[in-house]
Symmetry: D2
Subunit: 309 residues, 4 copies
């Protein structure tokens, strides 16, 4: 929750090449709960401990990637204000009517300079986390069905003009930079990590010539032991692991990168520090990008650099 | 960080009966880093991963307890606005000049209806977490000196009129309730847990006839394994453990309660869920206060109920 | 596996007051796998990662407790030799024919000086751990059904004449003492912990006037995080927890003690050191029996001392 | 401890190219405790929780590798018997007098068919684990100095004629095979893992044309969280990591492979199952050697296959 009223990453609409494979992956292997299918054929999922109706939406398409990434805002007044602020800033916005997505209110859609489609919305139906709001238990069996992340947490996007993205997110939406990687010139950022809360990142960008590309969607786990469990389950399901379990230097998170059947990278991670807008951003120089990304190996692997969808 | 600009619990000034014992406990056993002593004889500490100069201040006194609990706000303009808002709400405020506490800016002091002294401030010197802001490592040896919490996280206070406290914190300071325990009448809260961020609690209150009492100051650990390590170190140091390791029903945190040499209770904990202001509060009925507090034993112990300072 | 050919605790036959409650507890809550029922009405279970047909056998009876505790030995020749050695030592033995217990070979039964019935056997059918012996995965879903211990690990028995028990176990069966608690006289043992392997204990005894009593049967978990999970599941199932999660001073294991519906105490634990017969035993003096048993609280609780079945 | 009286891997004498670098690595980074230096210039180390005087001995030499690997046996009578058994089996033995290694009794030295030098000994001075044998604490600060393994655990050796090695270890020394990897012919083993205890391996061999080569010496950690800590410390010390943190399919252990400054590979690991001689060995077919070795990646890396010292 930022001071401008942007609460959190709310949902990601992901393109998959084969819907059945996608449903199997996100539902059985990753262990998200399917919450609905719409007339367009989209399939909706939520993580077990999320209370809103959906956080991942799969759409079958000819090429993999991310349709849009949406943030929930505090309420309708905030939605109106941010829409107005965006337009005042020079960003055209579009209204997607309530109900276009299942159990989701009106959305404000706009394109950011890196070419990605963002959305804001204020309403999504509270379907609960499987526990009552009175005298709940600590967790439910769904917390162990598949990898079973707690929530869809953030994404890393590839595209151009990330300094313009940063300015927009800071000045209009109230994000702040937590860490960044600087190129050889000592000035230009290769990568930026931004928060609208006390999370080390709610979203991140890497400079890339092609616009609108997805590096990964990330899902939060409870602990480093759950990261091991996730890696085990990926092996059992023959999921292609990119790297991990390992630690990031940036955010200090404990992580696995892997690929869904369509080639979209996803992350399951735990840990990472909490931060605040008064905290000085952490800078990584390009010669240390190895440990910045993969703290143990201290070097990037080929897939990390080349594969985006 | 709340939408009203209250960032986080910033520091707690704790009264100890014997300063040397207190310094040993908070410095060597708990493993906070001593950052200074002032002319009044107060001793300042910070947790290793905190960047601001201090979060725990010890003052020798005839009786144990909490002098005041302070929140850092986003900036000086926020401090002025909140001071003005408090006075407009009918809460008298006092200004404590910059420098009265080491490396700390001007503070706005006020009493809340439960009898506790709260403070707001915008400035405290960034002394870092022992790692550079350029190309840091993942952690430093101080992360293993003593129990070594990551930060001072929250406190639980006992006093009267907690419904008035809740109203003040919600309406002026921007907190929101995450969980509460309701008495037999189904209306009156025995306990309230409030957040000014996405933490399950930044502060909590239990209804109690005597004003201004401290139940515990809480310190965050990285993991359940660090909770075990903390319990081991407490045993080695002959710290009196109240309860734990165990889990709370409320917040789901993994916890130990124990006592400093002056009888002030402190908590070391890990885990707990993250939440947002759009999340419906969780309610506990009084017949389930056992599992609400101690999820495994499902009943309260005598010390938990009776000992406050 | 001891040098005399005693491999490990093989099975415990436990008396329960209500068979259905017992089946629910050991099968659904503890998460053992039911492997059969015999004509006598006994119900057989194994832990998921055990390969032999059974390790826990429930028998309905009027009072709770332990019928007998059995050790698997290396082979039939070892069984014959140990039987002969026992008789030469002056211990009468009895042969229980193969098949009296499901999938279990001939057993040699004898009473030890503390009044407990012990058995040795060489054969129990290998039913596997749910994974093939060629190219297995790392674990199976059964590893997460209920508390799901890895194996039945050891027991703690209460009775008289434990110095005679120790002598018998050392001289005939090849056990060795790893730790012991000495009474005020500095000579007499209150408790002895013995191993027939590199485990810190395969069995333990506490001096007690009444013969043949059971303190607890213990089940091994993978990690301290699984101990937390076990405590959570016990709370969800309203299992009565005696103490824990905590650590033992003796063996250093991480533990929970709790009760089955018939009042038989069971333990779920992880960790503990490994040891060898050349290692000097660790001695605890009676004034330190608190941290010896419960390392964090450093004192015994009432139930630990008084409840045996 | 095997039924033939071979207790455990006792010490490994390792050749390093630069003694000071080796001392820094094994002492400061790995965190073994230096226990002495002898007239030959060898430097002795033990892991914090080992009680015997040494388990790793460094010798400066022109090429890296393993001088010899030694097992402690139950007592002097066992040493004499095993020496006699070895000679009866056709293996020439040599006696190394007591005192040739610091605090170590007489050793029986012999070469195994893979070209490696093995030793047996019955005596090594008990210097303790830093805790008293009366009323100890759960651990000592040395448990957190550097990576701080619990013990030197096993080694993996490369050489020819591993079926002859297996036969010798089984028939004379009492080892048993726990797992093996079979080549395309379905008969010839590529790799064998053997235990003389209930550990999933006390030693392992991979078939390799060049005799007497070392793949890695392995050190045991307490938990998967300690494996993460080890990887972090390796990164901080710029240790070259081969692979990990990850899991092995064989033994299920959680592991990191890395290199000492001389290029000798070492492993830090946790977990893995316990087994017994009555357990059917697990077989891996050569097409599944990927998950057998690295369970998550499901393929071997280049370094694993090619680098031995």
């Amino acid at each position: 929750m930022g001071m401008n009223g942007v609460l959190r990453p709310g949902h990601a609409q992901i393109r998959v090449l084969d819907l059945e494979e996608g449903i199997h992956h996100y539902g059985k292997v990753l262990g998200l709960l399917e919450t609905g299918r719409d007339k367009q054929g989209r399939v909706y999922f939520k993580a077990w401990d999320e209370r809103d109706h959906n956080s991942v939406v799969l759409r079958q398409a000819d090429r993999a990637g991310l349709d849009h990434f949406a943030f929930k805002v505090a309420n309708k007044a905030t939605l109106e204000k941010l829409d107005s602020d965006l337009r005042a800033y020079g960003v055209p916005t579009e209204r997607i009517p309530a109900g276009e997505m299942l159990e989701t209110g009106e959305r404000v859609r706009f394109q950011i300079p890196s070419g990605h489609i963002f959305e804001l919305y204020a309403e999504k139906k509270d379907v609960g986390n499987g526990m009552p709001y009175v005298n709940p238990e600590a967790w439910v069996p769904a917390a162990e069905h598949g990898i079973a992340p707690i929530r869809m947490d953030h994404c890393l996007l590839y595209g151009p003009d990330i300094e313009k993205v940063q300015k927009l997110l800071e000045e209009v939406l109230g994000f702040y930079v937590t860490e960044h990687v600087v190129l050889e010139d000592g000035k230009t950022d290769l990568a930026i990590f931004l928060s609208t809360s006390i999370k080390a990142h709610d979203i991140a960008f890497v400079r890339h010539p092609e616009p609108g590309k997805l590096h990964h969607i990330s899902f939060l786990l409870d602990s480093w032991e759950k990261v091991l469990r996730a890696a085990d389950l990926m092996s059992m399901a023959r999921v292609s692991i990119d790297i991990g379990p390992t630690r990031h230097g940036i955010t200090r998170g404990e992580t696995i990168y892997a690929f869904d059947p369509s080639g979209n990278r996803f992350e399951t991670f735990a840990g990472g520090y909490q931060t605040y807008p008064d905290c000085q951003p952490i800078k990584w120089t390009i010669d240390q990008v190895g440990p910045a990304i993969f703290y143990h190996d201290r070097k990037l692997n080929e897939a990390f650099l080349s594969v985006v969808t």
